[in-house]
């Protein structure tokens, strides 16, 4: 049976005496996954903008 292993939410966040080690690592994990997702989206947007600029430049040249 799955049970919450801590007496309170405070005890959960303290994880006495190891909360200071555990939580920053999970925070870093979220930061890495979020950062890579953000970096991918930015790289994709940048590629689309670059191609759009090239197309516009070509159109201006042709006209």
């Amino acid at each position: 049976m799955l049970e919450f292993q801590f007496a309170s939410l405070t005890a959960f966040f303290e994880m006495a005496p190891h909360g200071i080690y555990v939580w920053p690592i999970y925070g870093l994990g979220v930061l890495v996954l979020g950062g890579l997702t953000f970096a991918n989206a930015r790289q994709h947007r940048r590629a689309v903008r670059m191609i759009q600029r090239n197309l516009e430049r070509e159109e201006t040249h042709e006209s």
């Binding site: 292993q5 994990g29 590629a47």
Partner: protein, 246 residues
């Protein structure tokens, strides 16, 4: 059917059109698994009788350490595909995996060091497992740096492929380091061939997170590959049409 499924991977357009959908599925699946596995590991799994709550770091450390090695092996497979079949997408995959692989290796080293402090009394020892993982991080950095240093993408791909294949020798060293040398790092917590030593209430969330991180890596690699495909294929008619419609 035959080899058609394999040849389809030779078309960047075929990949780009499908990868967006695959990415969406992987993203939501990874998020669900990681939230479930992490909450289970942090709040519902029992406290370890020796390590106390510090052991809860393994729910992140073990999946990312597995992933760091698996991604390097995947990069080596891509290098072989690039050399044998000259498939452009394999080079794109190699470029994407190098960045993700470095990120997960760094996360594995940092989480291992932080777990080591309360468990071993030190953040770092020059133990065979830790050192070979550090070499893996340098190999990833080497691949990223080498690509950045060579302007021609084809030449860069070939050079990176050679470096990746040479570096494969480090993978068995990482795996067997805990058996070949007397290390502070313990043997694998989870093996495919043996029943886990820990109770199910501890290993089920670990397995959930391992699956979650693997799918998250797939999500990230697909996203990065789509962006690289767009950049590399910017002169192709299909990309120009796609962007002008956007």
């Amino acid at each position: 059917m035959g080899w058609r499924w394999f040849h389809q991977w030779g078309s960047p357009r075929w990949f780009y059109e499908r990868a967006g959908r695959w990415q969406l599925v992987c993203g939501w699946l990874a998020l669900t698994l990681l939230i479930t596995g992490s909450f289970w590991g942090l709040a519902l799994a029992p406290v370890d009788y020796q390590q106390g709550n510090s052991y809860r770091i393994i729910y992140l450390h073990v999946p990312v350490a597995f992933l760091a090695q698996a991604l390097y092996a995947a990069m080596a497979v891509c290098a072989v595909v690039l050399f044998v079949w000259k498939m452009k997408l394999a080079d794109v995959a190699m470029q994407s995996i190098a960045v993700m692989g470095f990120a997960f290796t760094a996360l594995s080293l940092i989480s291992g060091a932080v777990w080591g402090k309360p468990t071993w009394g030190t953040y770092w020892v020059w133990d065979a497992r830790l050192t070979s993982m550090l070499i893996l991080a340098f190999l990833y950095l080497g691949v990223i740096g080498l690509r950045a240093a060579i302007q021609d993408p084809d030449q860069a791909g070939k050079a990176c492929g050679i470096l990746v294949l040479v570096g494969v020798v480090n993978l068995p060293i990482i795996k067997y380091s805990v058996e070949w040398w007397n290390t502070l790092h313990q043997p694998a917590s989870l093996k495919l061939t043996e029943k886990p030593a820990m109770p199910a209430s501890m290993w089920v969330p670990l397995l959930t997170n391992i699956l979650g991180y693997y799918i998250a890596a797939a999500y990230l690699i697909l996203g990065s590959m789509r962006a690289i495909v767009l950049e590399r294929e910017r002169r192709s008619a299909w990309v120009r049409e796609l962007v002008s419609r956007a």
